[in-house]
Symmetry: C2
Subunit: 348 residues, 2 copies
DNA sequence: ATGAGGAGTCGAACCGGTTCGACGGCTCGA
DNA sequence: TCGAGCCGTCGAACCGGTTCGACTCCTCAT
């Protein structure tokens, strides 16, 4: 059931069928209808590989996402979903590529073997060899996140510096003086993940500006790590009255740690951070946070990529987003009374 | 940079290069090395579309997953991640296909246009026209979940009937007599989602067996819906002392509802259900639940699909999993004292 | 009446691989 | 010494589309 068979049955040549389908040259109504009838009868669909080979476009975009070994965060799920949905509206498929242990191999697979027309990269690092590589090859790609020098590149990113700073100011305005920062895992920080670095920067500078006493922590992407991290925070400085977290997956653990330490949120302790709204709303009390607009970012990334594919010589474009802090229920004024005595246990 | 160019520079024919690469015919060491040197120099990689066209295999599997309009659950994320990872070990790429509003269109794209060698389907319904269609065409596919008549098909599924029943027995053993069931959204139940139906069945039968008083609810896949659902439960029968949920995404909301109603978990109220362990561990107290082994299921689905692709005439295979209930901290003996008076507010 | 030009169609080349049949040269057993 | 048979290589066909140039009508302006 190929184009030749359709042509034979419709009594025309293969090229006429092709033109009838693509509309790139005029075809008489009579012929077009005849062809269409045969196609409908046989349920013919043109072979994607053959088409891709002939015209050099696969109608597929690659989504390079972090390895499964890491715990996924809810944010990533929203990205993936919105990217796939947006791509579908442009008639693109999405090919998933794990940038796992052997990131180079799957990268080569995608680009070298021309499986995709363009790519969207997640989990960008400040110095990112993948990005450098793509930039050098002028391969159509869009980053979700930006490197240290994002000038000539295409990306959609979050202003983590401003976001973390906004969290600090929010807490400072409420009277908190001793606050902690819960970052992504140390491994990611060391690898240079931009959100971890820029968030930490914004936090540190804003805290200095407001003259706050701070401690910063890294924390695994799961609830038990969050709980352990909170225990460390209260152990290191029991007078801490608030924290800012970039670590969505640890959130549940942080709350649990607070509950176990007998700190009521927000009466005794305020929590805020940068978290997708859907997850901010699953915890009790709901988290006051800068909402990561993951779905919007995925959509924007696809928009940019499609534009880049359609106009290969256009100037680089990007979107830097700074969502406002959504006031929910996890922050409140710093207590004027002393916090409970260090390491006090909940009602045993 | 195609195979002809490599052949020219190495001074051999195109077919020799092809054989050197595939090993399907002997090539002298000398020639092979000469070719390899040219390939390394130029960084040549064979074009995937051309290869697919020639040998009829795309080395890609399709993953048909639910539309982004729905809220994703954590489970789905784990599936996707593990499928991609497992596929990579077999040298397959994964193409995402939203089975969204226009499910037929993307379905046709995948299969009709031969973009993929096989497919993995998620979110199976008891009567599923997609599955029927694939079965009729003998298209290599594996379902995550099973239809009402799964005999001749390939799938990996969870025994939701047994799992829900196990939850009921666990609660009944603890002395609970009035329990509620929180299902997936009504829309999905009506559409015939297998987990929703089989889970409900298992719950209902086991409860009848144990002579329990039950109410069953459907609930949106998000925290606010969970909270609202819990309010309904306590409104409808304030003497309810436990619930079973299949709805992972509503879990946070259910907990919040209980907190607002002044019910302490597990002292006043027990919660259990079927939830991926990672999410069961984010709530406080951690959820006693049948852990959905999402990662394992993704891996198994890929294993089955690859086997089916390698041995097209083998008999259908499947895996039915019944993970045990992990005892955590959200269930306890039914209180012998009367529950707090209806609609009592927490310390205001 | 005539030539320009557009509509409609066809054949052939091409995209970049894989695979089959053929063939020359060599080894080895009869 | 001859032929069978294997090794290594080549040319050509093929996969299923797209696209370009050429050709035939037909219309319309000159």
């Amino acid at each position: 059931m190929n184009i030749g068979e359709i042509a034979r049955r419709a009594g025309v040549s293969r090229s006429t069928v092709s033109y009838a389908l693509s509309g790139k040259r005029p075809v008489s109504d009579e012929t077009r209808e005849k062809i269409q009838r045969v196609i409908d009868d046989l349920g013919y669909r043109p072979n994607a590989s053959a088409r891709a080979l002939a015209n050099g476009r696969t109608s597929t975009i690659g989504l390079v996402f972090p390895p499964a070994g890491d715990h996924y965060t809810g944010m990533q799920l929203d990205f993936i979903g919105s990217v796939v949905e947006a791509a579908a509206t442009y008639d693109y498929d999405v090919l998933l590529s794990p940038s796992g242990v052997d990131s180079d191999r799957s990268f080569q697979r995608l680009l070298g073997e021309r499986r995709v027309d363009g790519a969207i990269l997640m989990e960008i690092r400040l110095q990112d060899d993948r990005v450098d590589h793509l930039l050098a090859e002028d391969f159509p790609a869009v980053c979700i996140g930006r490197t240290a020098r994002p000038e000539g590149d295409w990306w959609v990113g979050l202003d983590h510096t401003a976001l973390a700073a906004a969290c600090v100011h929010h807490l400072a305005d409420l009277g908190h003086r001793r606050i902690a920062f819960v970052n992504r895992p140390e491994r990611l920080l060391r690898a240079g993940y931009e959100s971890a670095h820029r968030g930490l920067d914004g936090f540190t500078k804003a805290a200095a500006e407001r003259g706050l006493t701070v401690r910063t922590y890294t924390c695994g992407d799961d609830a038990p790590s969050g709980q352990a991290c909170l225990e460390r925070i209260l152990h290191d400085d029991p007078a801490t009255t608030a924290l800012v977290t970039l670590n969505e997956a640890a959130l549940g653990g942080l709350y649990r740690g607070l509950a176990h330490a007998g700190r009521h949120v927000p009466r005794d302790f305020s929590v805020t951070g940068v978290v997708a709204s859907r997850w901010a709303e699953t915890v009790t009390p709901q988290l006051t946070a800068a909402d990561v607009p993951a779905a919007q970012m995925g959509r924007l990334a696809v928009d940019l990529l499609v534009e880049r594919l359609d106009h290969p010589d256009g100037p680089p474009r990007h979107h830097l987003l700074t969502p406002p802090i959504s006031l929910r229920a996890s922050t409140g004024p710093a207590g004027t009374v002393a916090p409970p005595s260090p390491a006090s246990e909940p009602t045993a």
